[in-house]
């Protein structure tokens, strides 16, 4: 079922948790709400669920205005961050709870309730643990009980608050894959909240990036990574180097560069920041397009070589990550004078805070073919 949230605002005292947010989730979508803590992502999820009421705005589920419906009447399944399992009940009773509290007329017979709860436990691969108490389960198992419990009432929409937040890294990865598979089987419209960009990008069909109570950008993994709309998103989705520059027409001038770099979209001329990821930088012997730098330190960590360098023109420190097979790596030692080449980057107007139109971000590829030849 589709979800539509329209101009949702919510304040907690002086703090604006959500500021006129619009969100729409298509039927069968698996959508991530991604953002740092305090960005309003959990509040938005709880408002959709009906666990919180918005100060302003309406929530539509399957086209029907659900803003004034109680949480139990919205046909949602909610998975809490800390699972919120009923600790005095067995796993089976936890899963059966939603079926048992139905009004007598709609309630299934006891045998049917048991059967369905056991089926769900089988489905989440916890078949043998039905009589255990939540305290006797591992974190990953608890999470799956919480999921089975939410699915038992056959919700139209599944909402998950930081579903993997409390788990250790290995379990988290396994469970992530498992949840993706589950979604592909059930096709139930799902929204989950996370602060982990890797999790959001790997699991979701579409990612909504939130910051300070507003939505910064909505897109697929590729769209967000290749065309970040704002410096915030560029920064949030990975490490970023920021180089001060100047834009004139379709050219970007970096301090110390002999020639400008051509870009494929038009920016307002003036001061700008070039955002570039450490992995999108290459170092070469002097010559060619780029900026002169002096190597400060070189650190080898497994397959990646991290180089810290300083630009000659304005002494900006730049982090570079190179594959260790890069043939020139042995020559990169502290003090070496090299040329920094930008393989892919984004340009933002200086001091920009508001979400920018997508055309402002203009990643360009320069010499990718040649780079591959170098690496090989």
């Amino acid at each position: 079922m589709s979800i539509e949230a329209k101009t949702i605002s919510k304040r907690f005292g002086d703090f604006a948790a959500l500021d006129r947010v619009d969100l729409s989730v298509k039927e069968g979508d698996l959508l991530a709400l991604l953002g740092p803590s305090g960005s309003g992502k959990t509040t938005l999820l709880r408002i959709i669920a009906g666990l919180e009421s918005p100060d302003e705005g309406r929530v539509f589920i399957d086209g029907e205005d659900a803003t004034d419906h109680a949480v139990g009447d919205r046909g949602i399944g909610f998975v809490f961050q800390h699972y919120a399992l009923f600790k005095h009940m067995s796993v089976l009773e936890n899963v059966a709870f939603g079926l048992r509290v139905k009004p007598r007329r709609q309630r299934l017979p006891e045998a049917e309730i048991r059967k369905r709860a056991l089926e769900l436990l089988d489905f989440v691969q916890l078949a043998g643990l039905s009589e255990r108490r939540p305290a006797q389960l591992s974190g990953g198992q608890r999470q799956r009980v919480a999921l089975a419990r939410a699915l038992a009432v056959r919700p139209r929409v599944l909402l998950l608050d930081e579903p993997f937040g409390a788990l250790d890294a290995r379990v988290r990865k396994d469970l992530r894959r498992w949840l993706r598979k589950l979604h592909d089987e059930l096709h139930i419209t799902s929204v989950f909240v996370t602060h982990d960009q890797e999790e959001a990008l790997e699991l979701a069909d579409r990612v909504v990036v939130m910051n300070r109570g507003r939505i910064e950008q909505v897109g697929t993994t590729d769209e967000l990574y290749e065309h970040p709309a704002t410096p915030f998103i560029f920064d949030f989705l990975g490490d970023a180097n920021v180089l001060p520059a100047e834009v004139r027409g379709r050219s970007v001038f970096l301090p110390g560069a002999e020639q400008p770099i051509a870009i494929d979209s038009i920016h307002p001329s003036g001061a700008a920041d070039v955002y570039v990821r450490p992995g999108d930088l290459r170092l070469a012997e002097a010559g060619g397009v780029g900026v002169d730098v002096i190597v400060e330190s070189v650190q080898r960590t497994g397959p990646i070589v991290r180089v810290a360098a300083e630009t000659r023109a304005d002494r900006t420190t730049v982090a570079v990550e190179l594959p260790h097979l890069h043939h020139d790596v042995p020559h990169f030692v502290a003090g070496a004078a090299l040329r920094l080449r930008l393989m892919q980057f984004s340009v933002f107007e200086r001091g920009e805070r508001k979400p920018a139109p997508a055309t402002l971000a203009a990643p360009v590829l320069i010499g990718r073919e040649r780079e591959r030849a170098d690496v090989g």
Partner: protein, 294 residues
Amino acid sequence: MSAADWTAVFRAVRAPASRATSEPRAVRLALIAFALLFAGAFLVLPLATVFVSAFAKGALAFAEALREPDALAAVKLTLLIAAISVPLNALFGVAAAWAIARFEFRGKALLVTAIDLPLAVSPVVSGLIYVLCFGAQGVLGPWLMEHGVRIIFAVPGIVLATTFVTFPYVARELIPLLEEQGDEEEQAALSLGASGWQMFRRITLPNISLGLLYGVVLLNARAMGEFGAVSVVSGHIRGETNTIPLHVEVLYNEYQGQAAFAVASLLAGLAVITLVAKRLLERRIARASAKENA
């Protein structure tokens, strides 16, 4: 003290966990001896005296003192008072604790403070409050008399005074418990379609049951043992408005020492049962929370 506790004491005296962080042996021994002597002289000895004096003239005299009609009436009245004020205050305690732990509202701080009032004020004052409200010279007294309702020097007055004095026990026990547990489980129940009552009955109540029982045990002990407030409102009518504590006083004032102690031993017995129940509950609560955190 159980055998295990004693063993623990001796072991602690003999082998401190770490020499660097523990007091010299002499200091430890002196402190422990002082604590035990003090507890013995001021707690154990008087309690033992109650039972010894109660049986001073033999078991027959003990039984006689309890079978006496006025004593029986006092026991019945005490049970009746407890049977009314304990459920009343348990109900109020749960409601107040829930309201305070779960909702934000104007006057919440005032309510929290008001709950503690009976602990802060002398029981005599608690009794006087009701005399001043409902007594013959009180605010509502004349009106009540006109309509033939007796509150002061009657059972309703005793119930009111007892309920007032025992007001805080359950609420004070449950507020921190509810706050610590948070409302996620309750929200989960609601999201699964439970009604408010189903949520309370199936989720909240089982989670607070031990704490509630703990509060009720203390509440009951106080309700049955209350003297000051009840003394003011009861009027000391033998066989009618005397509770067990009041009856003990009457007997004692009439120089019936053995009978007074025999009746008093009922209260002392209640105290022992209360302490055992309290200890068992504390152990179960500790175990339950250890299991949760495992």
